[in-house]
């Protein structure tokens, strides 16, 4: 496979039978755009957009009626004969030696199984240490209370600050503060900074954010002895389940079927079965009864991963003409016991000279997990803030300054998107485009901007089957999982489109490991991996059907076409057959066709811009977001309605991140203080502004679009607050106290 760094055009003409596609790859640890030469196979095409009947149109999701009537079955909802409910005991200390006596719990009436999760010394708060299965959830809680546990506290550090003081207890054997960059030579950037006409600097901080999926992590293990088990899992990866579960059940992976009918949100946190899932398997194996183990809410906060926090110390040089001449960053991410995802700097914008150092600091808390666009929202908050500070420092229009510092190859794209956002949010009529509003008004309005980038390309790990039965019914089968993005719906619509049927004639069956393999849903890779394979399977099914009909009706299969429940010879329209009759001709076996990923039906590389308009109450410090606008390209939009939901959802999550969300821990007591929905705030109905989501026309194939949507919204909001009242909040979330303190500081200055 040949790869070349990205230029505007492919490096040369493709070899015979090959073609060039753009992909995002990690090259030397950096996300890079590259051209890749791949086989140019003849196959299905999406076709002209204006000719599409179902794909790309606004289609209500096919499983909507199940969801709105409570019939959709999530793993939480699985109820089986003789099923036990399991609960998990978690270590309430961040670092402790643990001793358990389970005898009393075992003797408790109604408790059927108890397992110890083999740890002598716990290194992070909330680690599971034992699990109890009982006849009801209430009895399982009793069982937990009957466990006699003793915790011998060890020194701990639960905040980055405490982890870095002299003599801090060692969380990681390699040190609590670890440099992750090989290049630490700052001489070039220091020289460029020294020569800068204007300098700006600041330290931006982001808190730890939680995925807070409404359906918590967990599985239901249906094992009643014997050599087969079914595992219902709330997961982003159907195929990440059987292998994990089989090991603990003493079965082979192919004796375990994973089922994921519906799942209640994951956002990057749900892969595999985890320690708790292993406990459920052990309990099922011990009791030979089905076991239902789902986290409670506090556990979800303590032990289901998070988006790492971070500190971004940024310094930039800028010319009075509006060019970023130098950029220096030191990024320290707060990943708990793990490293945390990279928070790339400089984020999107292209200074002439740039240097970034990445470090991580370890604490005795749960490690990070991937969360929707890992690392990008954190980086965006700091970089977009710096961009505004630089623009204010030289008195330049905030949009104009951004447009002057865009990366090579993306200038036209981002400039167009910024202009569109500016138009939709009313930038031209806004009075404060290059300075903030310094008036004494009580309610002040400001506007801010931010950019996003993501890959969203697909891969080869999907196998899809389309079945046509002799009664005319059609099924599309894949083991993939629907996280709420509308996967079932586009599977059905792609097949119906290809076969000339109505949406209701095709049933999509997904979420079962006995169906064809599918990639786990991470990094917005599902649609771009799966949709091409679905299209390919439908196309193959159609060709097989046409071959059969050509035998039956005469004519040549390649001249056949279908539409409106009819199959006909395009060269001789008298040769035609209705869909039902055609399928009856297949005989009792019907037909089945397979499909795999087709690179030409997918694409990669998303760009987006967002703008926010806020109102700041200078008496209370309250920020009210009035309006948000998102403009994004994303290749072929598979379903305009569900895509709009995702773009809105990205903006909502970013708003929530910017204004409300923050993990709070007590550094002395080592406790997580807000592991619930009263104190860990999520945006609710009354926080939602007017929202506008715009997809750009984009002739490319399918690209996953969800990650980019969540990246820049909170940055735009923070910038809008600064624009409204002059207060730069360097640390999220943007709470009233920070705004008021900022206003007081401004007054003093």
């Amino acid at each position: 496979m040949t790869r070349e760094l990205l230029q505007d055009k492919p490096p040369r003409e493709p070899a015979p039978g090959k073609k060039w596609i753009r992909v995002t790859k990690v090259v030397n640890g950096i996300d890079s755009e590259v051209w890749e030469e791949v086989d140019d196979v003849q196959g299905p095409e999406w076709g002209p957009r204006d000719k599409l009947r179902l794909v790309s149109r606004a289609i209500p999701r096919v499983d909507g009626p199940e969801k709105v009537t409570g019939r959709a079955q999530f793993s939480h909802d699985v109820r089986l004969p003789g099923m036990l409910y399991a609960k998990v005991l978690r270590c309430p200390r961040p670092c402790a030696k643990v001793r358990l006596d389970l005898d009393a719990a075992r003797r408790l009436k109604g408790v059927v199984g108890v397992v110890e999760l083999g740890v002598d010394e716990v290194k992070w708060l909330g680690r599971p240490i034992a699990a109890v299965a009982a006849e009801t959830p209430e009895l399982a809680e009793d069982g937990l209370r009957a466990i006699v546990a003793s915790y011998e506290d060890q020194p701990f550090a639960v905040t980055p600050a405490r982890a870095q003081v002299d003599g801090a207890p060692l969380v990681n054997s390699k040190g609590n503060l670890r440099g992750l960059s090989r290049n630490t030579d700052t001489s070039e950037v220091d020289a460029a900074l020294a020569k800068a006409e204007v300098k700006v600097k600041g330290t931006w901080r982001v808190p730890v954010q939680h995925h807070a999926s409404l359906e918590t992590h967990g599985i239901v293990v249906d094992y009643r002895g014997g050599d087969e088990a079914t595992v219902y899992a709330s997961t982003q990866g159907t195929f990440t389940i059987p292998g994990d579960a089989a090991g603990r059940l003493g079965l082979k992976p192919n004796q375990v079927t994973a089922v994921v009918e519906h799942m209640g949100g994951g956002f990057g946190s749900k892969f595999g079965i985890g320690i708790e899932g292993q406990a459920a398997c052990l309990l099922a194996k011990e009791t030979k009864r089905p076991v239902h183990l789902l986290f409670d809410r506090a556990s979800e906060f303590h032990a289901a991963g998070n988006r790492s926090g971070g500190e971004h110390e940024l310094e930039a040089g800028v010319s009075r003409a509006g060019e970023l001449t130098a950029f220096k960053a030191r990024v320290t991410r707060d990943g708990g016991i793990s490293d945390g995802a990279g928070q790339p700097q400089p984020y999107i914008y292209a200074p002439k000279v740039a240097f970034a150092e990445q470090r991580c600091v370890h604490t005795n808390l749960d490690g990070h997990r991937a969360m929707r666009a890992p690392g990008h929202p954190q980086a965006s908050f700091a970089m977009e803030g710096l961009m505004d500070e630089a623009a204010y420092a030289i008195g330049m229009d905030l949009v104009e300054f951004r447009k002057r510092n865009l990366p090579e190859g993306k200038r036209e794209l981002y400039a167009r998107q910024l202009d569109k956002c500016a138009e939709l949010i009313g930038w031209a009529a806004h009075a404060h485009r290059s300075k903030w509003d310094a008036s004494n008004a009580e309610l002040k309005t400001g506007i801010g901007f931010g950019l996003a980038r993501w890959g969203g390309g697909g891969g080869k790990d999907c196998r899809v089957e389309v079945r046509i039965a002799s009664d005319g019914s059609v099924e599309v089968l894949s083991g993939t999982q629907d996280l709420g993005t509308g996967t079932r719906t586009y599977c059905a619509s792609i097949v119906a489109e290809e076969l000339g049927l109505e949406l209701g004639q095709v049933r999509a069956r997904i979420g079962r490991s006995t169906f064809g393999n599918a990639n786990p849903s991470g990094g917005s890779t599902t649609a771009a991996s799966l949709a091409p394979a679905v299209k390919h399977a439908a196309w193959n099914a159609k060709r097989a059907l046409f071959d059969k009909l050509a035998e039956l009706l005469g004519g040549e299969a390649r001249n056949f076409a279908c539409g409106g429940n009819l199959i006909y010879d395009a060269t001789d329209k008298t040769r035609h057959i209705g869909w039902k009759d055609a399928c009856a001709a297949l005989g009792p076996n019907g037909l089945a066709a397979q499909g795999e990923w087709q690179s030409h039906l997918a694409a990669n590389d998303i760009g987006g811009a967002q703008a926010a308009k806020v109102q700041v109450d200078t008496t209370t410090g309250e920020v009210k977001v009035l309006e948000m606008v998102a403009v994004q390209n994303c290749g072929l939009v598979l379903n305009e309605l569900t895509a709009r939901s995702q773009l809105n959802g990205g903006m909502v999550q970013a708003l929530s991140y910017g204004l409300f969300e923050e993990r709070v821990v007590d550094p002395d007591l080592g406790l997580f203080l807000n592991a619930n929905f009263e104190d860990y705030k999520l945006a609710g109905c009354k926080d939602i502004p007017k929202m506008l989501a715009v997809f750009e026309d984009d002739p490319r194939g399918v690209i996953g679009m969800a990650e980019a949507a969540v990246i820049p919204g909170h940055s735009a909001i923070a910038n809008a607050v600064r624009n409204a009242c002059g207060v730069r909040v360097y640390e999220m979330p943007l709470t009233c106290d920070k705004i008021l303190n900022g206003l007081i500081a401004l007054k003093k200055a």
Partner: protein
Amino acid sequence: MSDVAGSHDDRPHARDGVLTRRSFFKGAGVVAAGGLVGEAVHAAAHSMSLEPVRLSGEVEIELSINGALQKLKVEPRTTLLNALRNHCNPPLTGAKLVCDRGSCGACTVHLDGQPVYSCMTLAVACVGRAVTTIEGLGAPGQLNEVQQAFCEHDASMCGFCTPGFVMSISACLERKPDATLDEIKHACAGNLCRCGTYPHVFDAALSAGRALRAKGGKR
């Protein structure tokens, strides 16, 4: 933090002999107890030698659920939510267990027509009252106006919060089919959605209100 021994939710739970559903005891080595607070026994953290004793038992109650009477065996501490999900036959799992303390609305059902958090309501307190769950509002093929509008406007993504939103909005529009956007936001201010479907939820609610008014206005 109900999963972690020794750091339980610390809210008062034994006030004035009031029936509460939680009986949390602090400290390791705690003895199980549940149900009526009057009977609660506090166990000290050092009570390692105590044999566990359960002080509550099951009671048989009859509840009116979606228009039909159903006999259920529950404990006094069993929430209405757990009764619906774990004790009904067939199980009614449309109402979801998400926060288990009345802060997200995913468990919303109607009690005598009023939306309530079923995770904060004891099953035994619902005897003689009419419980309506999401399963009682409509079925696929027979959706009510709110459910229909939710489908058309794509007001669900993962769908876990959806039953709760549908219950809150249905109750609101039942009272006031011409509810304004602000009134709708107020009606579901107690419901959380993590996927961020709110804009489409509002569109759906306004559209359902129009459909209800077209059908015959205020009842």
